[in-house]
Every structure is written in C-alpha cells, then in structure tokens.
Symmetry: C2
Subunit: 196 residues, 2 copies
Amino acid sequence: MYNGVMKKIKIPVEVSARHCHLSKNDLEKLFGIGYELKKMKQLTQPCDFACQETVDIQFGSKKIERVRVVGPVRENTQVEISITDAVGSGIMPPLKLSGDLKGASQVIIIGPKGLIELKEGLIVAQRHLHCATDEANKFGLKSGDKLSVKIEGDRQIIFGNVIVRVKDDYKLCVHLDTDEGNAAGINKVTEGYIII
Amino acid sequence: MYNGVMKKIKIPVEVSARHCHLSKNDLEKLFGIGYELKKMKQLTQPCDFACQETVDIQFGSKKIERVRVVGPVRENTQVEISITDAVGSGIMPPLKLSGDLKGASQVIIIGPKGLIELKEGLIVAQRHLHCATDEANKFGLKSGDKLSVKIEGDRQIIFGNVIVRVKDDYKLCVHLDTDEGNAAGINKVTEGYIII
C-alpha cells in the first residue's frame, strides 16, 4: 500500500539465531517415543518457545552442533541457518519464508536417540514482520506484502523486502537473522521503524 | 552534499573477509628476520594484495586460525573481523575505520616464528567507499563524508553511514564485511548504487 503519504511506525526488532522446528514424528525419532519438548524460554510470539533441547545438524561438508530447538512441534520439520553458517559447507540453502520448504536444501538432523535425513529441510529465513490481524488492518497491510524497515545507529540500515505475516495472535515484531542483525549492529533486540 | 537533487551512481561493491595487516617489525616477529610477504592475489585497490601468508589470532576466549594477511606492510598492525567472528569470545571490538586503532580491542597474533600481543589491534571495519580524488571532486565528496549505498535483490538493502575515503589512486569501490555482504545476499562482488 502506498497512497502518497509515507508512514514511519516504531516497532520492536528481534534477531533469531539458527534454530530447528520439529514435527511430532521427527521429535520422537530424534528423542524417543512419547518425548515432549521442555520449555526453556518463552519467545515474543505467544505460540513459540525456545526448548532445552538441541540437535546437531549436518549439510554438505559441514556439521553444526547444539542447534536450539524451537517449540511447540509443527507440521513440518525445518532448520533455519544464516548464510555465514552455510559458508564452507558447499551448500547454499535458498532464502525462504518459514514453512515454505519447496526447494529447501538437504539436511541431516541428529538427536540423542536417532537421526533423520530431510530432502528439503534447510533454509535461510527471509526477514519478515509478524503482525496481528487488527494491527494489519490499521496499517493497511496483508500477508505477503513487502515493506522496508529502518534501524538507526552506527550501522544504520534500511532492510527492503521485509515480508508481512498476519495472524490473529501475532505480536508486532520484525525478525532478522544473525547476519542481518550483525550488519545492523543489533545485539539481539532493538527498535526500528517500518516504512510503509 | 545534498543540493535537493538525489543522485544514484552505479558502483562496484566488494565483501572483505576477516584479515590482518602487519607492520614490518611485526611481520619479522611472526615470520622471521628479513621475511617478505608473498603476493597471492592482487586486490581491487592498486596498493593492496592478498598474501600467501596466514596467521592465527586469539582474542578473549576465542581463537581463529588461518586469517589471511593483506599486504604490503603498513605502519601499524591491525586485525579486522566481523561481529559474527567475535560472537562467543567475550570481546566486542569497536566499529572503526581501518587505521583508527584508538580503543581497538586486544589481540594476540600467532605466526610460524613467534607471536605478538597488541593492546589495541582488533576492530570491526566500518563500511566505506574508496574514491579517487578526481571522482570525489566530480561527485562533490570528500574524505569523512557519509553516504548511503543500495544493493538490489531478494535481500535488498540500503547501507547508511558509508564513510568516504579519498586518495589519488583509489579505485571506486564500496567495501563491506561478511556480515553486511551476507545480509545483502552478496557473493563476494556485486554492483550497488551510491545515493548522494
């Protein structure tokens, strides 16, 4: 939406480190039958929590240990890494929105009780804005819209192509990966401006 | 300079991985008396070349092996890393222009014949634009000016606070570090636009 008037809206910005979402079936293959994820820390989105559990991942010629699992279980298992994480592996996972695994890269996930091999499971997450339905309506946004987000500071930056994701219970927040956070000089959490 | 007309100038953009510059004295401490750097590859700036030599560096609780030396020897020894490189070390080096080592972090550099310990030697390099004097005059730029650089693509980005560095023999080029390059989805070299 652009109606000739540029709006600048203050917004929380968070940086997500590499992590892994698991399906119920894959969780049981990795951790044992009937296993349930243990919450370590609530995340900003009401439905998400960092788990006590970690897994090792292997892709191309690279292995990364202790990748944090994010719960609750989802329909599909998915691993999100940064481009920096991919360097030296011989693999460059595609830039994808979380949940869109068509064309994702191959990855092996190793847990204490077993391992799984996913043909399409590894992505670099596309930066995105979580937005509740009522706020989206207020701002004139809908899922799939793209907007820009400005971060102030010594490493001032404007991220383009930030994808809007709308859901009733989302909390307004921009999610970046660690490469993007470091390029902007952000230490985990900051404030930015969405430019509509 | 802003005279009411925004200029958009196409420009090469390069990504610099972590590297080390050495003084003649420190080169001899690390590689032996009378040692001379061996050129591996000419870099874009006519005066700079990647060397066959690498060193190991240690800062805080972290050691990184095989950090590329960039020649020729300089007046002061300096190590440039990314914020990603610094993660897990307990040290966060300051964001500095190359050559400005006041307040830089402590670093140990290890070579095949010895090691040196620098009280102020480790920085995260501030993004910058190399510009020849005649081009700077043409664009109305001078050393120390700040401008913005836009990179197109899926990870479209506008980097602010890009510092202008002017010297007679510089070749027009923006230098980013690996975090910035990865955040913009750049694979080593690309084109961008400076916005003045």
